[in-house]
Symmetry: C2
Subunit: 322 residues, 2 copies
Amino acid sequence: MEYGAKSLVIGLDLGGTNSVFGVVDSQGEIIATTSIKTQAYPSVDQYIMESVKAIKQIAEQVGGMEKIRAMGIGAPCGNYYKGTIEHAANLVWAKGIVPLANMFVNELGIPVVVTNDAKAAAMGEMKYGVAVGMNNFVELTLGTGVGSGIVANGQLIYGFDGFAGELGHMIVEPGGRPCGCGRKGCLETYCSATGAVRTAIAMLEESPEATSLRDIATDKLTSYEVYKAAMAGDTMAQEVFKQTGRRIGIACANIATFLSPEAFIFFGGLAQAGELLLRPIEEAYNENVLSLYKGKARFLMSGLDGAKAAILGASAIAWDLK
Amino acid sequence: MEYGAKSLVIGLDLGGTNSVFGVVDSQGEIIATTSIKTQAYPSVDQYIMESVKAIKQIAEQVGGMEKIRAMGIGAPCGNYYKGTIEHAANLVWAKGIVPLANMFVNELGIPVVVTNDAKAAAMGEMKYGVAVGMNNFVELTLGTGVGSGIVANGQLIYGFDGFAGELGHMIVEPGGRPCGCGRKGCLETYCSATGAVRTAIAMLEESPEATSLRDIATDKLTSYEVYKAAMAGDTMAQEVFKQTGRRIGIACANIATFLSPEAFIFFGGLAQAGELLLRPIEEAYNENVLSLYKGKARFLMSGLDGAKAAILGASAIAWDLK
């Protein structure tokens, strides 16, 4: 297939383990892809050099760099305004503030933009997923932590410093579970995949109830194991999803007072539980929300293919660049 | 003074008692004003007829209707998208859904837009007040209730249905004080002027402490009386502001995870307490907020003259109309 000049974008899903590059067309098809190990390079210069090689290689497959309009990067601690990643504790070569976008611009000669993975997911959703045509929605990514991307008036909210949208750190239970952020009771301590497992472990300790969850060592327990048990009819495992969903629903009721979104969209490992999670979310939302909002918002699973979502999301923020 | 064609806007502050009209220039000066009694008319048609008379009269003072570009209305339950006021329980002629903007358009032949008073205040702040040049901020109006106007990316957030920005109904204390909305623990039950008085009354009941607040019958107690006592050195009255401020600060810490605003701006009766309220707000905010946001946001009193603010706010939403 022949592509027009500047008719394609590159998405880079910069994760702690792999950096996955994809050339994406306007329909959201990934037409060429490759990856490198994120942490195999001791310095950011070497990381950039290897990345540029990888990018040029996939660009060749689609007719060369002149087909590429821009690049979007979804990265931990990515700052959209500055094009930096800032204090990304998990990346060996990224101590302090790394001007990632500018470094790529210098090598590639195309516009490059950075944001965090959850904001990228929301943009991907709006460009290629279930949020096509929506101007006001909230995407919550329920993985190891809880991330969020918030779209209002058809635009991502970045806040004045680029760091808006950390809904995983709304405090939903003052004095509650300790959070990695150093505070207590953050949404993600209850409603991430990890948080759901904490709930399961707490239930196992507090209740003598028979449950297949006891067949798994607690340090081996994952949200996927809890999901499988729930689907097989295990009452305690179902209760874990019910409590987790209700917490999310109540948090969404507070989020509604801010945005009154058309939809809440759930992405990530835990969200794959589908109705098991969505039903208690919606129920708790409508029980707790201001009557003005009752029954209005939709609760949806992401429409992005999990494996491709991060690249699509990163690519989505690149389309509007000039 | 001679004004150019379409160089002025009209602001209408539609309150439960008075409807105040002002002709406003681009500098935020109210150059002509008049008012009518909001509820003196049994039907919306009669209200519109009297309003149109009032508008034409002040327009004459500045050179006629051809000088007027558009009109903005700040009204309870105003819906920006539809130009309606919806279920405004306090207005005798406004049962159900009233297409207020269209009714004025038909009579005046200029664009007319409606929003609620708190959103109008935020627009006024951005156009004429302390938020000039800010693109991301939250305005909280602390009056009988708590209203809010949220600006992200330089635009007011209306949400998908026009009813975003009801931060007064964030639940800050699950199972807490009963709210007029039928739920419990909403921010406004603690942090409106009325909420601060409820806090004072609760303290008077719970503590034997000597305080000048006991000299006032509880049904006569107002936030202004508490303010005067606090300024005169009354410890309990000061504690009321401290607790109220801390509640607001903790709520703002949660709001930050959404928007990461440049500033929180406070407007309305209770906000006039100034530092007495702002200091505990800022203190509790920085103690409770995610470290990423610590020390970044500013806490400001509105820069709008209280008496003119509602008209200026209403007029501010009219400038961008075509």
